[in-house]
């Protein structure tokens, strides 16, 4: 599909494999196994069958008529919220779970922020009969408590991470520390297009099913390609998935929406491509929110899934090459989009996905009369503890 990353795992100058030497053999093996897995008809058949009969794919593309009318924008929603477990995260978890099994691994570990990836991994572990441990920052366990219970119900061990900011980045650190010890029997099922090569490539490929479907669906529904394709960017997996097949189509503009949080002030947002600069973190050279010395800065977003100081290397590459534009949406704008979609269309979106829609609504003049495809990456049930407070329910 795409020539990048190159054989060393680089998208232009971004990417790479900045991990302890102990893990390099494992990463090489994953890359090799993945290349076989891709060409193995039996495995591909199993994956496709699970995506349809288990995950519920293809997901619909929905024309949001009332919302469109209200804002004078043609808004189409790719309904990843309808994937089993409630978000796009399962697309990748199923793929990597099968890959792990293919490699003979018996245990899955994962990091999670919003808990959606943790739930997806726990689900796949149950489905494939594998052991599962999910690392989650203490702060995130509190604000996404429904998902913690779901993971436990599914048989996963949820390990609270109390170091650093107690959010997604610290959960990744904890998972990496576990993996260096356990790499012989354990697969680290990374939940976004982040980390060392080959993860950014593998996760993107598994998520590209989103645009593989959407590109045909939108032609069916609108008769033409959309003017804009828009997705929220935490690590960047749902965006990578919906960008993949639209990237080379002329006239389609790609927009990634980062968490603008409270303000552009240090520590009050998670918008690395907007306010950060390149650095090396979690296995790759990529944009990062960091101090002058290079220590990682605290970040904020109302949405736990976007509350991450770095971003997948391919997005850094898209950003510098102008292949996609990266913008921000604040906590408040996301919350009002959350309410808008719920009240106007009867769809309760995840707070992450609300950022994509929030940018469109907050900048409606830019999109007036245009066809806009928004990736509705997940549903909002998990966000009840937050919105209960915000809306005084």
């Amino acid at each position: 599909m795409t020539a990048l990353p190159d054989s060393r795992g680089y998208f232009g100058r971004f990417g790479g494999r900045f991990v302890p030497e102990t893990l390099t053999k494992t990463l090489n093996k994953i890359e090799e196994a993945y290349n076989h897995f891709k060409k193995d008809d039996k495995m591909q058949k199993t994956l496709n069958s699970l995506l349809s009969t288990y995950a519920g794919r293809p997901t619909p593309l929905y024309f949001a008529e009332r919302l469109s009318e209200k804002f004078g924008i043609e808004i189409y929603l790719k309904r990843e919220d309808l994937v089993h477990t409630g978000s796009h995260k399962l697309n990748n978890a199923l793929g990597q779970g099968l890959l792990a099994k293919y490699m003979g691994k018996s245990r899955l570990i994962a990091e999670t922020g919003a808990g959606q990836h943790g739930v997806a991994t726990a689900t796949v572990a149950a489905l494939l009969g594998m052991e599962c441990e999910v690392f989650m920052g203490r702060t995130d366990m509190e604000r996404q408590s429904p998902n913690v219970k779901r993971m436990r119900l599914l048989g996963a061990k949820v390990t609270a991470v109390d170091s650093g900011s107690k959010t997604l980045k610290d959960a990744i650190n904890a998972a990496m520390r576990d993996w260096v010890k356990t790499c012989q029997n354990t697969h680290y099922l990374i939940g976004s297009v982040v980390g060392a090569h080959p993860f950014p490539m593998i996760v993107r490929d598994f998520q590209s099913v989103i645009s593989k479907e959407a590109i045909l669906q939108i032609l069916d529904a609108a008769g033409v390609y959309p003017d804009y394709v828009i997705a929220a960017v935490g690590g960047g997996s749902n965006a990578a998935g919906i960008f993949a097949h639209f990237k080379d189509i002329e006239g389609v503009k790609l927009i990634g929406v980062e968490a603008g949080g409270i303000s552009p002030k240090e520590g009050e947002h998670s918008a690395k491509l907007n306010y950060g600069r390149p650095g090396i973190i979690h296995g790759n050279h990529t944009y990062l929110l960091q101090t002058k010395e290079g220590n990682v800065l605290p970040v904020h977003s109302i949405s736990a899934g976007l509350d991450y100081p770095a971003v997948g290397a391919e997005h850094s590459y898209f950003h510098e090459k102008g292949i996609a534009q990266y913008v921000t949406c604040t906590d408040d704008q996301a919350l009002s989009a959350f309410k808008e979609l719920t009240m106007t269309e009867g769809i309760i979106p995840a707070l992450e996905s609300s950022h994509a829609l929030g940018y469109v609504i907050a900048n409606q003049d830019r999109f007036r009369g245009k066809k806009v495809l928004v990736n509705l990456s997940g549903r909002g049930d998990k966000d009840m503890p937050i919105v209960e407070k915000e809306f005084d329910l």
Binding site: R8, G16, R17, F18, V19, P20, E21, T22, L23, T24, K25, T26, S163, G164, K169, D170, N173, M176, R177, V180, K181, T182, C183, Q184, P278, G279, I280, I281, H282, G283, H285, L288, Q290, K292, E293, G294, N295, V296
Partner: protein, 244 residues
């Protein structure tokens, strides 16, 4: 037989500048080299003890700027045959003003950088930041190293080879599986530079076991623990314990 080449790790300026300098100088009476840690916010190769020490320094707002002054003092007051290495993570090096950093390293004769998140395959990336050629990038071998990487790494290594005793992070319990010992034996026979074993070495027994198969040992967590819990006196007795 190569001479033994033993090293110890201290977090720079931990728990305070004075204790750090005193500990470094004391340690260099026994050890051949010191690794000075520069604190990074997300030290994925470190266990709780060293991670906490890093966090403590970051909260104190002390980093390379302050630690480099202490290193200058240590260089001046220690035997010139003793080597100094810096141990940190790649992002701090990436963010350095390379000219100033090279000048500093040359000035105090920093032998090399130990960057646990930079495997052999990414060394060229760090080199391309215009790091002075005289500063070695220390290579790692591990229980996971393949024959191919053993050959490649031993043929290119400078300074010494850091042999990581186990699959794990700093501060773990020391073990050396039979398979690991056989990798280590191959490494020492192939390498022209000392192959030094580290990770998990906390006692004289651990060190002895490492020295049976390698050209030296490295200890860190045990010393930081001593400094954290009691202070310099306990550090001093821990040091002696290794060499009694």
């Amino acid at each position: 037989m190569k001479n033994k080449y033993n090293g110890f790790y201290l977090m720079g300026n931990y728990p305070d500048r004075e204790t750090f300098i005193k500990s470094a100088l004391e340690g260099l009476r026994y050890f051949d080299f010191i690794e000075v840690g520069i604190p990074f916010s997300d030290p994925i190769a470190d266990g709780e003890v060293i991670s906490d020490a890093a966090q403590f320094m970051i909260e104190k707002n002390e980093g390379f700027a302050e630690i480099s002054k202490s290193i200058e003092y240590i260089r001046e007051h220690s035997d010139k045959s003793k080597d100094i290495y810096l141990m940190t993570y790649s992002n701090l090096i990436y963010n350095m003003n390379m000219k100033d950093f090279n000048d500093f390293c040359t000035g105090v004769n920093i032998k090399g950088l130990i960057l646990p998140d930079v495997p052999f395959c990414e060394q060229s990336f760090i080199r391309q930041l215009n790091l002075d050629d005289n500063i070695a990038l220390i290579n790692f071998l591990t229980p996971e190293s393949t024959q191919e990487s053993l050959e490649e790494i031993t043929s290119e290594a400078k300074g010494f080879i850091y042999f990581i005793s186990m699959r794990g992070i700093t501060g773990s319990k020391f073990t050396m599986e039979d398979e690991t010992v056989s990798i280590l034996k191959k490494a020492t026979s192939l390498s022209n530079v000392p192959v030094v074993t580290g990770f998990g070495i906390k006692s004289k027994e651990d060190a002895k076991m490492a020295l049976n198969y390698s050209d030296g040992f490295i200890t860190g967590t045990a010393l930081i623990e001593a400094l954290k819990e009691v202070g310099f006196d306990s550090f001093k007795s821990k040091l002696r314990e290794f060499f009694e």
